[in-house]
């Protein structure tokens, strides 16, 4: 083998391991959503089922958590964008010598642990409410209010970083030109700076929403009577979980892939159009694909994904794994019966040995091995053995 081939193979293996490490857990988790087994697992594979999606959509606490997460997410987006944008604008205006200090102060919340932010948020607003009197209690102890403010403390800093990067490319001459042409400062801001910042505002909004949606350690102190999805999931894990969580994870994965594909498809489509406009690549005419899909693999995959999802949902309406489940149950029952029989057999033999009043040197080899193996292999003795087998 030439060194080139070897390096190719090594690179391939590395990529395989890398993506396996990145995506493996997601794949396994997604698979567990379709296994009828009561605990999220892939093996032993019982039956292919959609029932956990049903369980998920009937779980009021999860649904309520999603609702709260979305409300808080939207609130956080609004507050963070407003604070982040104004902070970034101040940074461009502030006296140059102060700039570094100001910058450090503004991004400090990113470096502070979320737990600290959560605790300080409730403590601070509790003080504020005491200061202002009991009439403000309802607001300042409201979980949604506190969570939005708590999360915004650091998410606004992230948003500001995005805005600062975009603002660095803004030509202040444009604002001056607008002023010179008679615009007021408000008009210059609204008609010149804001449109320029629009892409940054969009990406900051997406980032802020995702950061808010997945936040746990700040929210856990501030949620009050409005548990978010992450809080609900954490509580569920404490009391034992079932694969409905996997089905939620699967939905989120699909939505993410969907969003990424849609964005990529859109990007390529506009890119193609622009290139066609400049005449660099003549728009391909003919072919069986409609214009949107031409030269746009992301769009093709997107359409395929849509079909798959629609088919899967359609199948789920009529598909019923009852027969398979009954088979599995029967098989399990059979296994349990066999094991009970074996145990009874063992007990009988032991009792027989006791009546002999002596070391059981004539015991059957199978029995001896079954008896000895657990005691020698596990530090916890037999405790987990039944559990493992009972599954």
């Amino acid at each position: 083998m030439s060194p080139k081939v070897i390096s190719r193979l090594a690179l391939g293996a590395y990529l395989l391991i890398f993506f396996g490490y990145l995506l493996g857990p997601l794949v396994v988790m997604s698979l567990t959503a379709f296994n009828s087994s009561g605990f999220p697992s892939v093996s032993p594979w019982a039956c292919f089922t959609f029932e956990w999606f049903d369980v998920l959509f009937k779980d009021q606490r999860i649904l309520n958590g999603i609702k709260n997460s979305i409300i808080i997410g939207i609130g956080t987006v609004i507050v963070s964008i407003a604070i982040g944008l104004s902070a970034a604008l101040v940074l461009t205006q502030v006296w140059p010598k102060l700039r570094t200090t100001y910058y450090t102060i503004i991004i400090a919340p990113i470096l502070i642990p979320g737990v600290v932010l959560g605790i300080s948020t409730i403590v601070f607003w509790d003080r504020v409410s005491r200061l202002l009197g009991p009439s403000t209690d309802a607001l300042f102890h409201n979980g949604i209010f506190l969570t939005i403010l708590g999360q915004s403390t650091f998410i606004a800093s992230y948003a500001m970083l995005i805005f600062v990067a975009r603002l660095a490319r803004f030509d202040p001459g444009l604002t001056e030109a607008a002023l010179d042409l008679g615009a007021t400062h408000t008009q210059a801001f609204r008609k010149i700076l804001l449109p320029f910042m629009r892409p940054a505002i969009a990406s900051a909004a997406v980032l802020a929403f995702l950061a808010s949606f997945e936040n746990y350690n700040t929210t856990t102190f501030t949620f009050g009577n409005y548990p978010t999805l992450t809080i609900e999931l954490a509580q569920k894990v404490r009391y034992g979980i079932n694969p409905s969580i996997s089905s939620l994870a699967f939905i989120i994965v699909v939505l993410t892939v969907f969003g990424a594909l849609a964005f990529e498809a859109y990007r390529r489509n506009t890119g193609n159009k622009e290139r066609a406009k400049e005449g660099k690549a003549a728009p391909k005419s003919g072919g069986i694909l409609p214009g949107f899909l031409r030269g746009n693999p992301a769009a093709v995959v997107l359409v395929l994904l849509c079909f798959t999802v629609i088919t899967a949902v359609g199948t789920a309406q009529s598909y019923s794994p009852e027969q398979c489940k009954m088979d599995v149950r029967a098989a399990k029952q059979l296994e349990i019966d066999l094991r009970i029989e074996a145990l009874e057999e063992k007990r009988r033999l032991r009792e027989l040995g006791k009546t002999h009043e002596g070391p059981d040197i004539f015991g059957t080899p199978e029995v001896e091995s079954e008896d000895k193996a657990p005691s020698s292999s596990g530090a916890f003795g037999d405790v987990f053995k039944d559990l493992e087998q009972g599954d």
């Binding site: 030109a177 607008a178 010179d180 615009a183 008009q187 008609k191």
Partner: protein
């Protein structure tokens, strides 16, 4: 020409901390004039323009537009429109939206704006391009859009901050003529900032030459070229041979300067210095390369310089001849290309003659650094 509006700077000082950007500027610009500020980069000319347009306030003194003191009036309230050095077209707006931005902020309807944009697009010869974006236009087209956008605001004074510096030579020359035509058509005052003396001299009614925050001379282009007021103006505007020395004798508006290396030379005293110079003063004499001609060697003549030819360069319409006078003095002479075959005079010794009325002498001072 319509009735333009006067612009006056009265004793204007502009300071940034300890740094004085503009020192005691007194400028009177007549209505409808094409007025240029000419100077090397960093001399404070853009600062003056920003003070006129309202982006900064003078530390001292007053800016008057149409006789009205502009103190405390913001750029959006002044009857000026500025064409920026980088043009500052709004990249996210179409050309017609760019041009009519001043109408949009004033609340004009889209129909009116579209109509006005089409008129202005016709004027700048860009009909039918209104729906493009600035990035789709060439440099010269953007230039014209910037002019149309400024004119759409119907200013009394148009301010131009080196608007042609980004264009290539041919386009720049074309735009010079075009700007001058536009100015004469609309009849408003233009204040033009440039470091290119060619632009200043061809377009302007008046030129102010600036050096490190100081206005050295305000005059018409001809006056600036022929009778520079200071050594800086003489060396910055056009090319000049400089001879340093001390004044030997003064006779009315003529003087003889004893140069350091080239003997005694006769020249006119520049008008601003007449009566202020006396024998023994440090002085500088300037002779343009094109004012030198080949002459007869005569040691007694005070308008003849002897020199050896070092090198010759062909420049199309002329030859530049580089000579070395006594003591290594560098002299440049320009000879018109009249079409006949010319033998290179490299290495030969020549006598250079000039007319005393084309040479100026003035008190010694700072030269423009090349």
């Amino acid at each position: 020409m319509g009735a333009g509006v006067t612009v006056n700077l009265e004793n204007v000082w502009i300071k940034f901390g300890d740094f004085v950007a503009v020192r005691e500027a007194n400028v009177n610009i007549k209505g409808g004039d094409f007025f240029s500020f000419l100077g090397p980069s960093g001399c404070g000319k853009t600062t003056i323009l920003r003070a006129v347009s309202g982006f900064l306030d003078p530390s001292e003194g007053r800016v008057l537009i149409g006789g009205k003191d502009m103190a405390g009036i913001g750029p959006n309230k002044r009857p000026t429109a500025l064409i920026f050095q980088n043009l500052a077209l709004f990249p996210l707006m179409k050309i017609w939206e760019n041009i009519t931005f001043s109408m949009e902020v004033a609340g004009a309807s889209a129909g009116d704006r579209r109509k006005r944009a089409d008129e202005l697009l016709d004027m700048i010869a860009l009909s039918g391009q209104g729906d493009k974006f600035p990035s789709e236009l060439s440099g010269g087209q953007k230039q014209r859009v910037a002019i149309a956008r400024a004119l759409c605001a119907e200013p009394d004074v148009l301010l131009l901050d080196e608007p042609l510096s980004a264009l290539d030579l041919k386009l720049r020359q074309h735009m010079r003529t075009e700007l001058r035509e536009i100015q004469q058509r609309v009849g408003i005052s233009f204040i033009y900032i440039t470091h290119d003396q060619g632009e200043a001299l061809t377009m302007s009614d008046s030129v102010a030459v600036m050096r490190a925050g100081i206005i050295d001379q305000i005059a018409g282009g001809h006056e600036i070229y022929d009778h520079p007021a200071t050594p800086f103006v003489a060396s910055f505007v056009g090319e000049n041979n400089v001879f340093r020395g001390k004044l030997q004798s003064v006779n009315g508006n003529e003087a003889v300067i004893r140069t350091n290396r080239s003997g005694d030379l006769l020249a006119q005293i520049t008008p601003t210095a007449v009566g202020k110079m006396k024998a023994g003063d440090d002085a500088m004499m300037f002779v343009r390369p094109e004012a030198l001609a080949l002459g007869e060697a005569s040691p007694d003549s005070k308008t003849t310089i002897s020199a050896n030819v070092l090198n010759e360069e062909f420049e199309g319409n002329s030859y530049s001849v580089f000579l070395e006078g006594d003591g290594g003095k560098q002299i440049k002479m320009s000879l018109p290309n009249l079409g006949q075959d010319r033998e290179s005079s490299k290495g030969s010794s020549l006598a250079l003659h000039y007319d005393a009325s084309t040479a100026v002498v003035m008190p010694a001072g700072e030269l423009a650094s090349e």
